[in-house]
Amino acid sequence: MAKILVVDDDVQIRGLLVKMLSVEQHEVIEAENGAQGCKKYREQRPDLLITDLVMPEKNGIDMILELKKEFPSIRIVAISGGGGITGSFDYLPIAKLVGALHILQKPFSLQELKSAVAEALT
């Protein structure tokens, strides 16, 4: 059981992640954009950050960069639908480059999420 911060602007996806993680007995906190995510991470220092990448108010990549500087050993799983809102640019490989331990392509299965979380926490 771990304390996990979930950051996603889509309320349904956030709810889904919270539910899936709660079933696994994790303690979950939520944020709806990168700015809020940074704030909550500093306040609550969770064991793991799971974040979407394309979001308003500071995107996921910027949040990862900022937190990685402050907390070099931060554990991150990045999730994205792949491709920006306006085009074909793919953020997932970039998330990996800037420090995400795992990347998950939406839509993901419960099993994929479980193993990504398990591996990121070990």
Partner: protein
Amino acid sequence: MEELQEQPPAKNLRILVVDDDPFILQEIALHLIGDGYLVETAESAAQALKKMDVFHPEIVLTDWVMNGMDGLELCQVLRQRKNGQLLYIILLTSHDAEDSLVKAFAAGVDDYIPKPLTPRILLARVQAGARLVRLQIEVEQARREQAENARMAQQIQRAHKMQAIGKLTGGIAHNFNNHLAAILGYAELAREMFAGVGDGQLDEFLENIQQAGSEARDLVVSLRSFSSGDSSSCKMPLIGVMLDDIVRMLQPVMTASTVLKTNFGQEIPLVMVNQDQIYQMVMSLCINAREAMNGKGEICLHLRHVREVQASCTSCHEWLNDDFVELSVRDSGRGIDAETLQRVFDPFFSNKEVGRSTGLGLSVVHGIMHGCGGHILVDSEIGKGSHFHLLFPVIPLMADNAEANPAGVE
């Protein structure tokens, strides 16, 4: 229009003079050359017809009465041959009675010069003809330029359309994935948390939701590879080796009366594309080919290194002038007309019955090819079949690396 003013002056027009009297022929030729025209002579209609194909005159000046074929017959033959093309014909004649002249004009003559000839009348009549010829050349050139401009504008417009569609599908794919994540995720969670509720019916319903969601996810994967070309997954396999595998995998999709022929050249340079993508493209093209032939005919897969390709990409319309590795798929099917060919790479365009195809096959091919820096050429003729050429960019100076890393494994 500036270009038109740089045209050579009318006097540089080419004139073919035809007369069976060598002295008259000589005299006319000298006067015309003296006035600045390019002149060729013929002593008979038959000789004139031969010289037409080499000299390509704009003006023909011919005597009426000659041994063998006469001037009027020559005129008729020329009109038939040139069929609407630029040619100004002047007849030399002593038959200046009204009936004769009407007959001459009916045969296709543009003007006549009465015999006996005087040099001043000869040159004045030829100059009048040259004026008309020059105007006609200008009009023709303007028309060609206009057609060329229209063609360019249309190509640019099509290229923009493909780009816009690419962006749009990328955006749609992103949003779809978000929605699908919720649909599939909640369905999975519900199955896990409420297993056995409602005599297993709930589970069955949820399974159906998951099934539909998975199909939608596959569709989005195809859409994304159209919009991005998935260049991130480019690998460098030895394409020939891998094609043999693909052909083996294709066999079951072919019908008993479809013959699959292959010709994979030796020493093909490396290209940047991975096995799944080649498989997907060859599969799409072969299935289309099978449909186009109603399951009966010959499909040829051909791999070769092509040099100095000069053509315009059928899907993105960029002008190509380069060496490529070409993988082509040719069928003996019903062919594609020019208008349809302009639309076959658009997402969701399909000629197949509604419901039989997603219409993404060729747009995925477009995406993959352009994602790895390649292009597509298509030749097709109604009733004869279609020939799709996938052109992969040749990777320079990679030969040594390839030997050290033969299958492109990372």
